[in-house]
Subunit: 350 residues, 3 copies
């Protein structure tokens, strides 16, 4: 069974970093739906269907006049709610002239957009990643376009044993692949948890460099995957034997929160947002540069491998047998969760 | 309803400017039919199917020996009527060895070719554009390959309100989009006429520059679209209040004949021939350069927009709703005319 | 009827020159099957399916450790027989973890691979080309990727009349196209033979240069096509009137063995291996360079023409009529033989 191309709808997805959306019109396709984004004079982010109702010209290739978009082909004009407010050559505006407006929420440095029917869009259900915009943390980040389906990225992130092979020399060490994992699928909340606790592990080069730890470490990797959109890797690094205290802050350890927002662009491509937040060496530009460069290198290694797998799916077809083992427990749990989210999702209405 | 990809057959189309066809073999695909063109020693233009009957090698990649084409693969040789006159390794020439020869007519600087069954090919029905090869006129011209279907270009040309938005700063002014149009569909002759008469309009920069008019103008745009192949825009510019005299030449006005030949290359690409003829500043190279550069810029703006729409049709599919208003009356009339020409057209026989 | 895209299975095909396969992992697709090749420490060539059983990552993008391939994504490891010998995170190896191993034979400088069911893989049935690795012969060679189906190359090679037109100035002379051929289809052995004996022919420039013959020649071209994989052109050149002796070596003549291995890569692309062996001017580097450059030029002319025909098949579709004449007798015999090999071939199991 090949990784699915199906994308759950009636979901919140990260459309952009808040800092990406300003006065200019920005096009981004989410779940196959072309959307134009801009920040209105109120400061709120506006998200409209990126197709003029007249002849489908992309509004993102148009001009903004105040909070109105004037279509670049024939001048149909839309307000921030998507209502058409002017057409050329006549004063009467057709009653049905309106483009879809998408529910939007800004939180934890992200612009989230609701893909699906309007009714259940409840922003309080959006998963949190508070470190990304909190005091006491420094974050580096990026976004890489991935020419591979969302489910291949889910597979990749939920099984970190690939770190040893694909990212050897960067973040992988032999212990990662060798250490067994504990997996929990929380169907009610739509969360998959995968834990790998290494009590006596080699310290990967870049953690050694940025924390100053010498020698072996206790290394915990606790994944929380909020299907289908947000992935958190809580990484705890401490000298061997240093465990979290019974109470009070865990301040003998170093914490790194690796966050991925996995947003389907189309059925076979994905926006791969990545962030690394840390609670040490705050504001140290050298450490930030090092982490940014290293993590980007790791992400690009994944991108290269997953693009290759997508290309193979295209060439070979998807009628083949996979062979799964223990390391795949998390990934398979995530696939089941996505499938069940798909089953309760109405067909795309684009 | 998306713009159709269907192409009427049993029609004359412009294949080339006469000056493009000389001694060399020239390939051009018209309505999906690959054709090789050359000018025979008689001076007549020859148009043959561009596929050797033996193994379909393109004759355009072959060698011309006198008025004979010798296939570049195995040497099958064809005369100007498409009859095979030599084959390799034997003297007997198979009776059926013949490539299709297309009816051709040269007129008004164009090479016209008849796409369809031979019988009704009547060159007297070809629409005229006499200014292009007449005394008292100077013409600039070009041809741009368009990666969009013929019907998108028809839509574009029959509604000039887009001049204001897509070509603002070049030929568009606010009055164009604001002025109502009069539309007439002459089904019997297969002509759509769209008129927009602006009595007190701003003078677009390049008309101001080339005619020397200062201040407001009376600007008439009278479109005649000879479906599906030829588009004439009779443009009359004069100072405000100057109307054509009751009799005699209209010599207080400046006339520009903008001509487009719209020739389908395939179902989703088009040869976009454009010309601008004028009856003033004859032979003034500076004015010619200015008009050529300006018009080419305008055409390339259209090409960019229409290529984008074709790409959107490819990505989004063509199952969507358009919303049409008054400005679309001419375009919709043209679509109906093309559809009725399609309905009376036999299926392509390629 | 267009040239078929069907590829016979249960056949030996040339996968590579032996010298191409060394310690490094080398990917090559044969008949649509992705295969990874390497030379084991024993010296034997190993050929395995190029897809990890776990998530289909290409083994050719992996690392070799001794004679084991360690998958570059998650570390699944395979021995030279294709058996999985290690997986990450657990010691138990799933019983079904194994990639397909392909039968291989090395002979006459080639690595042959059997595409099909294992059972009938009998290396004694592989056709021979002993000159390529024999004393008394010097060989030049190359391989060009062809973006055209196997059957187009078969057509091309079995009718040498195209030499006159496509390769005029290189190996073609008027006599080639003019001289009748004798064709024999040996269905039992799967061989098509086409002979063209020119008793008084012009000497092509490069033969004149490399043999030193001046004046007219007797030129024999005896083709043996071992369908579907190997093509031998026995070329004999001698001064006019010099025939082979009744007994003893034919040492008044010059012999050139032109060999092609025609290996389908996919249904519409082909590995075009070419060699030219000679029994004169042995070791003369200037003659070798001349022959290599000339033959490569000729092959690239064929590649350009066949790629064009494949493109035409893609654009025009394959529902068209060909017109065949006497020169096509060999090619048509080869097509029938390939069709009958296809009919007895099980469907591809990839």
């Amino acid at each position: 069974m090949a990784p699915t191309t199906q994308i759950p709808r009636n979901q919140w997805y990260v459309a952009a970093y808040g800092s990406e959306i300003g006065a200019d019109l920005k096009a981004r396709t989410i779940c196959g739906e072309p959307i134009v984004f801009y920040r209105a004079s109120s400061g709120d982010v506006v998200a409209l269907a990126d197709r003029c109702v007249h002849r489908r010209f992309p509004l993102s290739k148009s001009r903004r006049v105040g909070d109105t978009i004037v279509c670049g082909y024939h001048g149909f004009s839309y307000d921030a709610a998507g209502a058409c407010v002017a057409v050329p050559g006549q004063t009467r505006i057709p009653r049905t002239a309106r483009v879809k407006s998408y529910p939007v929420a800004e939180q934890d440095s992200f612009v989230w957009v609701w893909i699906g029917d309007d009714e259940p869009a409840d922003a309080t259900t959006i998963p949190r990643a508070p470190w990304l915009a909190a005091e006491g943390w420094t974050t580096v980040r990026g976004m890489e376009p991935l020419a591979a389906r969302h489910s291949l990225l889910v597979d990749n992130l939920l099984d970190l044993s690939h770190e040893t092979y694909l990212h050897g020399g960067y973040i992988g060490t032999p212990e990662v692949a060798e250490t067994p994992i504990a997996t929990e699928a929380d169907e009610g909340n739509g969360v998959v948890r995968v834990s790998r606790h290494m009590d006596d592990a080699e310290c990967p080069p870049f953690y050694a460099k940025s924390t100053g730890i010498t020698g072996q470490i206790t290394r915990w990797q606790d994944i929380e995957y909020f299907s289908p959109c947000l992935y958190l890797l809580h990484s705890r690094i401490a000298p061997v034997g240093v465990l979290p205290p019974a109470s009070g802050p865990d301040d003998q350890a170093f914490h790194v929160e690796v966050v991925y927002a996995l947003t389907p662009e189309t059925e076979t491509s994905t926006h791969d947002f990545w962030m690394v937040a840390r609670d040490f060496a705050l504001g140290d530009e050298e450490v930030s540069t090092f982490l940014r460069d290293n993590n980007r290198t790791v992400v690009l290694q994944d991108v290269e491998a997953l693009n290759l797998l997508e290309e193979i799916l295209r060439t070979d077809g998807d009628a083949y047998q996979e062979l799964s083992i223990n390391i795949d427990t998390g990934g398979l749990a995530a696939r089941r969760m996505i499938k069940s989210q798909n089953d309760t999702s109405p067909a795309a209405t684009a």
